[in-house]
Symmetry: D2
Subunit: 294 residues, 4 copies
């Protein structure tokens, strides 16, 4: 089938390749004319027959909203717009309502797989109405990994991004569990082959996983991770997951702690620990470190 | 080769089967004469040629210590005793020293795989001296999963149990990350197919793992986990992992939180939260729940 | 000076008493005519000379917004409206802008002190412009505790509610620290007089505080807190504090954990721990508790 | 009454002053002859009439054990030895048993008050037998703050150090709650007078405490704590508190998090966060910081 695909960066470009390899006709648009199949959104839309499916794979937030605003006058009733970016789920319903006023459908799709997706397939979590899902289903089939897993129609509008958000929140917690275990092994006087331990866990253990495979690979390349700094950005999904936990009164010690650890990793110094040092200084004359050095 | 195997319960019995299937000669001993190959430890030892390898697969603590005490006078210099149980790593070195006084070697082996190990192999984390590992290597080869992973000689005496302890600590954190994500999805008004979401994650996602497969399977059988109570015991390894983090000054928010959540799951009521209720009652006349019901 | 005071419940009624005792003229309005000094908002406003100061002490959210909407046509340029309720700080600036369009000033005031404030004074955290603070200063002076503390002009519009929000967030953490210590003492076989320990801490220790005094008093009345359930609601401020920590990338392990513990205290069963039980059931045949009882 | 006091450092020296001011006869011994009242332990003991009370105020661990070993042959049945240092509670019972073999009593005393104790009194938490407590009671009366609080006979041997351990654990949590609130206020764009906010809380609020007074004082001297580094040692008590929580299955999220934050404050770089960076690098080509700088 035909697909209009907006945004041909690392993700979008690979998706176009995978879809074409599956026999689909993709008309891609990107600001960069060297990789674009169309001169603009209007040109892209013109090249597609109704009912059209348009997949936006652009940065979440302002750019996604603008893209949808620009699409509305170009599309026809019966067309469906897909947001495959990392939008906050709460943006989906207002957007779906706006499109529905013009008879245009809307699907929100959480996409996992990163740079590995082109070869192995992208896991897709989809939110929206059944009819709209049905229209885009051949595209989903081509993008997802083979087999019975890797795709879910998770619920109504917003459910796709919601499921992806929780996926990423869980990912934070999983990564941090391995990271704490790594640090303990690294500090222990007793275990001498830490990369070997991680490698051994790749088969037959309870903790085996794709993330463990990656951790093992990283340690094989750099056994003490000497080349890296203990610094990690966080994308919006981790924050949104904890915000949702607060809204729904879900105890979320583990994922929140993982998020806070990332915050701390980006601080040159901790204001909270300065406060601890100040208190210790006040009450006991405990030795504290001053900025001057000590 | 020959192996003396003490303890033929769920784990030991399956290991005997797997070893025999690989062509090894296993003389098993168990208190239960119906499943035992020998009438006692002495009989078991008599049936083995020197240098003997004896694998104890009995409950950690007192029973393991007793078993080793009973073995010492029966064994000869050059023999090797393996503890495959869930001993605390700190018990290993005193035990190795005691055996070495009689010329007997010692290996500590962390075993992962549970009820699945018989078919797929047991991941083995081994601590001890190179010569002792070499002597038992054919046994390890038969027990471990096929392929390059699933076995590590992690370091000197204690390193096997240490690696297994950290494995289990990580396991606590991983499980709790999935559990928090599950609870959030379950509470959300937006996602309607929670089992479907977990199933979709089994391919192509960052969070895919063996534990995720199990979680997906559990949800397929009981979509809202209605048949279960939110109750979980903890085995020693989780506690020891956090104790080690304290000893080595490793920040361990995630694994500790997972452990504390298990503690809380076993309380009928929380004394700490009673204290919170008492304080709220004192300072603000906030509504609190009394035991009488309210 | 004159003050219009809206809402004469537990807080507002006590504040009226304290202000009158200090010689101020308070015209209170409440829906309950038995305690109201005026027949309605218009009547209340009529009884005050310009420039008027009107203090709203009503539930946060819709009721506060409605009250301000009703006040606007009744007031004159140069009047000042104070919100002393527990509004989210983010509501303050839109409200201040709305009032400023009519030449009316706005102050947000976080009020601490609860049922004890009438006698000992209410701590006040104020946000808004200097001129508006100056106009209401005699009222603040009468409400605050005597001495140099208990009042701050914390910053521009919103800063009063922000400071009160953080105050309450800290309160969550403090309470939970005492609560954890209480639970440990209560479980210990070694300490036999837990209420005595808490009482002893009231003088000369690092942990002495007003909350400790309350805890000691509660334990004097009910040494094992047998009459209480471990259940605690949370007001908005704790949630907002953690939301702000997320927005500003502040690691907030302690206050977040205190909040999550309150969430957990209100659950009959923990969905997350059901997931843990399900996983343990799947991978190891660990004993789990079924709903049927086991 | 008479007291033998071993260790005349900051704590012991001040205690001697306070006891003498209360009319007691203190024979102090210290390695430093300039401040010692006796030439050695034997000389100190000789100067005291039976039944003697000897208070050791020396560093916990080896030095305390040695001191008690040296005292045993010098003392007589009916004498009582007090350990006022920060010993782990689990050291107390073996020590009491050892002394009891010679007819010597033992009390363990947790002492709080630091440099402020000389003037305001030291809070005392005492463990041991009633008869031994009675013998030393005049000393306790002189050391404790005036009034009904500041002293507890918490239980049998070990209970004094246990109560002090929990006191310090709570202290960690309290300090960290204030510290997190401080960091949030400091980062907020809305509150402009953070020292003023802390000062305002000193009267009339729920969070008022001695620690808050110290925090306010520290901010008055250094409003952004620019002179300090966010670095904090931990003494044994915080670790022991969490270890006890693990032993007794007490959920202890808050105090453990406070302890872990201190661990993190002492790391130049976080191995765990290096592992996070390594994983992000592996799966997504996320930007990570290399040691070289990036």
């Amino acid at each position: 089938m035909q697909l209009g695909l907006i945004g041909l960066g690392k993700m979008g470009g690979n998706m176009r390749d995978r879809l074409r390899a599956a026999g689909h006709e993709v008309v891609g648009y990107d600001r960069n004319p060297d990789i674009s199949d169309a001169t603009g959104l209007a040109d892209m839309v013109d090249k597609l027959a109704s009912p059209r499916v348009i997949w936006a794979m652009v940065p979440a937030g302002e750019i996604t909203e603008q893209t949808i605003d620009e699409l509305i006058p170009l599309l026809s009733p019966g067309d469906v717009v897909i947001d495959g970016g990392n939008s906050r789920f709460s943006d989906d319903m207002p957007r779906a309502v706006r499109l529905a006023e013009h008879g245009i459908g809307y699907l929100d799709v959480g996409v996992s797989g990163g740079v590995w997706g082109k070869e192995y397939g992208y896991a897709l979590m989809v939110g929206g109405e059944v009819d709209h899902v049905a229209l885009a289903m051949p595209i989903f089939e081509a993008l997802k990994p083979p087999g019975e897993f890797g795709f879910v129609h998770a619920g109504g509008v917003g459910a796709g991004h919601y499921a992806k958000m929780v996926h990423n929140g869980i990912e934070y917690g999983l990564m941090h569990a391995y990271a704490e275990g790594y640090e303990l092994l690294e500090k222990s006087e007793i275990v001498s082959d830490v990369p070997g331990v991680f490698a051994s866990w790749r088969e037959g253990t309870v903790v085996r996983s794709w993330l463990l495979d990656l951790m093992s690979r990283a340690l094989a390349e750099d056994p003490h991770l000497d080349k890296l700094k203990g610094y990690a950005d966080d994308t919006g999904e981790g924050r949104w997951t904890v915000e949702e936990a607060i809204r729904l009164a879900v105890p979320m010690h583990v994922i929140a702690a993982s998020l806070f650890a990332r915050f701390a990793s980006r601080q040159d110094d901790s204001p909270a620990m300065k406060a601890i040092a100040a208190l210790r200084n006040q009450f006991g004359g405990h030795a504290v470190k001053s900025q001057a050095g000590e």
